[in-house]
Amino acid sequence: MISTVKLKPLHWHPHIAPVELSEATPEQLDAMKVTPSAKKVSEYVRTLVHDPESYIARTVLFNAIMYLEGGLDRPARELGALGASLVNGCTFCAVTHARRHAELTKNDAVVTALYLNKPEELGARDAAIYAFARRLSVTPSQATPDDIAALRAVGMDNAEIIDLIHAISIFGWANRLMHVLGHADSEN
């Protein structure tokens, strides 16, 4: 099964030096919600906390978009994240969110189809979500009213579509951090 080969978790390594906890400003420590005695804060967090104000703002919004209850089901949000990450070439985000989709659905058929580049094997709802995610992620956007009509045709209401738009868009953001400020590989 190709998915079990391709979808091992990756490790992310920054291109720039992360903030050292011993040298962090009070604002940076507060943003990381750690005390100077904390030993382990990820390199990802310590890299982005170079700018503590945007770090906090984005983290709060990201968590709301991906994890708040109600509205669009979580696998659909992960599928939107995956579609964006594949367009934007963020290998780390793509693998992370493909794995999460498979965990949430207890099934890796969808992510396997996408990694084999066979989107035609998706069901109607997943296909509409994935196509929209890809088309909205291109610069400039290629999404059209037909994409929204396709989402409505598979039963999605306005609140769910707004959730999906945000899940795709926040990965237009996250991909441009993870894939730009570092690289991913299997080395810890």
């Binding site: 700018d51 703002a57 919004l61 956007s141 400020l181």
Partner: protein
């Protein structure tokens, strides 16, 4: 209350999409706080407000988002920007350093983030950007690409 995202998407309070957007007050408030954190942060880390707005206008144009282009243009004009920043905002590539390298980076990451490589960060370092500035620039670039997509999606909902 109408916010920046409503204005970008052309939503008014009697619009069903405006109302549906309020199902997620966390997104409404969160997107606005993010906007302020990258355009008018308390600590600009050496990236000026006019530079940030000029880059935002340039990236809105690459996203073919004429509403946000116009909005950023108005905001930039209000700060009496230098001729150099006006040129940057309008997509010029013949600029003095470090603006030329910053603009090149914004274009690359907006249009094709898939092509980003370690050498692109090295270029920013070579024209004098420090690590906080590299992260702040990255967040600004990424935010505008988030904002244009949310605005585009919301607009499409009104057309479908």
């Amino acid at each position: 209350m109408i916010d920046a995202m409503d204005r970008a998407a052309g939503l008014s309070p009697d619009d069903p999409v405006y109302k549906a957007r309020r199902f997620r007050p966390e997104f409404v408030e969160g997107a606005e706080i993010c906007r302020l954190s990258v355009l008018t942060p308390k600590d600009g880390l050496g990236l000026s407000a006019p530079l940030r707005l000029a880059l935002a206008r340039r990236m809105a144009k690459l996203n073919a988002d004429e509403v946000l282009v116009s909005d950023y243009e108005t905001q930039l004009a209000a700060l009496s920007p230098s001729d150099e920043l006006v040129s940057l905002s309008q997509g010029a590539t013949k600029l003095a350093e470090p603006l030329a390298t910053i603009a090149r980076h914004a274009d690359l990451i907006t249009l094709s983030p898939i092509k980003a490589a370690a050498g692109d960060i090295t270029r920013l370092q070579e024209v004098g950007l420090d690590n906080p500035q590299i992260v702040a620039l990255s967040e600004l670039i990424a935010f505008v690409n988030f904002q244009t997509r949310v605005a585009t999606g919301l607009r499409l909902m009104g057309l479908a």
